[in-house]
Symmetry: C2
Subunit: 350 residues, 2 copies
């Protein structure tokens, strides 16, 4: 894995020969339009969409080489997939259904057309998996590295959209999936990359930790959770996706909703591999969950009376509840102590 | 002008102290929501829009320091304004009305908060002037330079949207405003910047060429032309905005519509300052118009029977007509010669 990007990039740069339009044609061939709301995709000054009676939901993200990803251990195909998934995750966090994306890239002359095709293979895979249409973008050169800017667009009925600022006192706090795995995977990949840099003949054996590596390299947007909740007639009172760590997202919901929260360490869902790797580093696994990032699970609140519906769901954990006192942000540890939660989410500026 | 960005940037970097959310709050304060279609702007996982019976039009552009702009002579406020205007221009080219934008920026630690505030002042000015709402974006650090990614969203009735691929044979070819000025302005600014680099005490006197400098630094999206045509009941048969030079845009319309074109050098609208600067460089001014870029005027076709309505309009020039033979792409020069047009538009990959 550690070498494959370099193989791909070890080609004569032929982008300038193709030109911008030739490159766009090449990269976007094979993408199909799947949604009836897409009236016109790539090929004009702008795309045309028709949402009729639905509301439109829009989000955008920048991913920058050296800040958000390291091509030494992130395969380009995974990067393409992830760039899409993390944006769709924001659409899910509004309880909406993603329908379209635009993808803009800036690339230095270090990248070959084949390398960019790898990237777009991943983007195409994500478009297929999530049934979203690639409707536009921009392709340009950069003076350094690779940059990806994705805008995702989705739809929802007006009365189904869920915001961050509408949690009520004594709501149940829930998360989907498990937390901390993506951050554990990142720590592992960075460690193995350091070893590789010092000894390039040493290929990492990541099979023991394939799950957490996958959590880092190929996160999924939880469109299935949006569908699941809708299927059992639960409309969350508030929702956010976990991109910067549980503590940071809890802070957003609490601050915007004007409530506090109390969560329980033993209720935080953590995978066995995450625990194993944390113990290898002598770190309490909950720290990965609280302060790590990139799990792209959904954090949401529901009314207490929904307990009976939520509790049996395998892929959703009730980790605590909101409280009236805005100042209270408590993590109750396994030994019963109350620890104040600090928002230590990841920031690109630190 | 040549020094002001450096003054602004000559500050201790305090972005990391503010953090991403503090920075976003600071930069986006004072932006007002003006459009009823904006249900939720900045502050959640995604923005929420409601277009009801209209269709939605979406476009996106990347602007990269060292590729698309040079901060040695582009003031940050102008850059902010231009980043918005060039995207709105694409919305106009669909015959639609721009309503919302997202703006993402990546900045290296060379930039101070004050510098970014300058940039956002320009973005705010454009939002005010065009009545568009800033509804989201992403703010991150970059390893080098400044990068701006804008997505613009607009609306139009389904039967009013104008594409590139619908020009018919014998349509009149029209352009708004005048062409070549932005490219002339760029050449002038680059020349003066070179002089300044060799002799920093030498401040450029650009007053003689204030118009073409303005065309380069502060282009406008022709929302007024969309309104004007609608007011006299003209629906163009095809339309595109002129970002890469007239010849390149003519090629797009001809190729996608399956027609040829014949245009007349003496009909191409060129401002006096553009002519003057071209003569200083011993260049035929039409070359600036054909192969320069960034004028952001509209190139469109109308049915021949609209001649009577179009001809009296001061700000629109009829420069030629489409022809049946797809292979014909002719420029008829002032002395009556027919020259084959080549698509030599600007490309960031060259």
């Amino acid at each position: 894995m550690f070498e494959q990007n370099f193989k791909v990039m070890d080609k004569i740069n032929e982008i300038s020969k193709l030109g911008e339009f030739g490159l766009i044609d090449k990269l976007t061939s094979g993408f199909e339009i799947k949604n009836s709301s897409t009236k016109k995709g790539i090929g004009d000054d702008a795309a045309v969409l028709n949402y009729e009676k639905k509301q439109t939901v829009v989000t955008t993200d920048l991913l920058i080489e050296g800040v958000h990803f390291n091509l030494a251990y992130v395969p380009l195909k995974h990067l393409g997939y992830k760039s899409v998934a993390v944006n769709l995750s924001d659409i899910c966090a509004m309880n909406a259904v993603p329908k379209q994306i635009t993808v803009s890239i800036a690339v230095s002359n270090r990248f070959s057309v084949v390398a960019l095709e790898e990237l777009y293979e991943g983007i195409k895979l994500a478009c297929k998996f999530y049934s979203v249409d690639l409707i536009g973008g921009d392709t340009t050169s950069s003076s350094k590295g690779l940059l990806i800017s994705v805008t995702a667009i989705g739809e929802a009925d007006a009365d189904k959209i869920v915001y961050r600022n509408t949690a009520k006192v004594n709501d149940l706090i829930c998360v989907s999936g498990n937390l901390g795995g993506a951050y554990a995977g990142l720590q592992l990949l960075e460690r193995e990359n350091e070893i590789f840099k010092h000894n390039p003949k040493m290929q990492p054996n990541l099979s023991e930790y394939n799950y957490i590596v996958g959590r880092q390299l190929k996160p999924e947007a939880r469109t299935d959770i949006v569908k699941l909740l809708d299927g059992i007639n639960i409309l969350p009172t508030s929702m956010i996706d976990i991109s910067d760590g549980l503590s940071s997202e809890l802070f957003h919901i609490c601050k915007q909703s004007g409530v506090g929260c109390k969560i329980f360490e033993d209720k935080i869902p953590i995978d066995e591999q995450t625990k194993l790797f944390a113990s290898e580093l002598s770190i309490v696994p909950a720290i990965f969950a609280m302060n790590g990032g990139e799990d792209y699970e959904l954090l949401f609140t529901v009314k207490q009376e929904e307990f009976g519906k939520i509790e049996p769901l395998q892929d959703i954990s009730i980790i605590g509840h909101t409280v009236k006192d805005k100042e209270t942000k408590a993590l109750i540890t396994k030994d019963g102590k109350s620890v104040r939660i600090e928002a230590q989410g990841w920031s690109s500026f630190q």
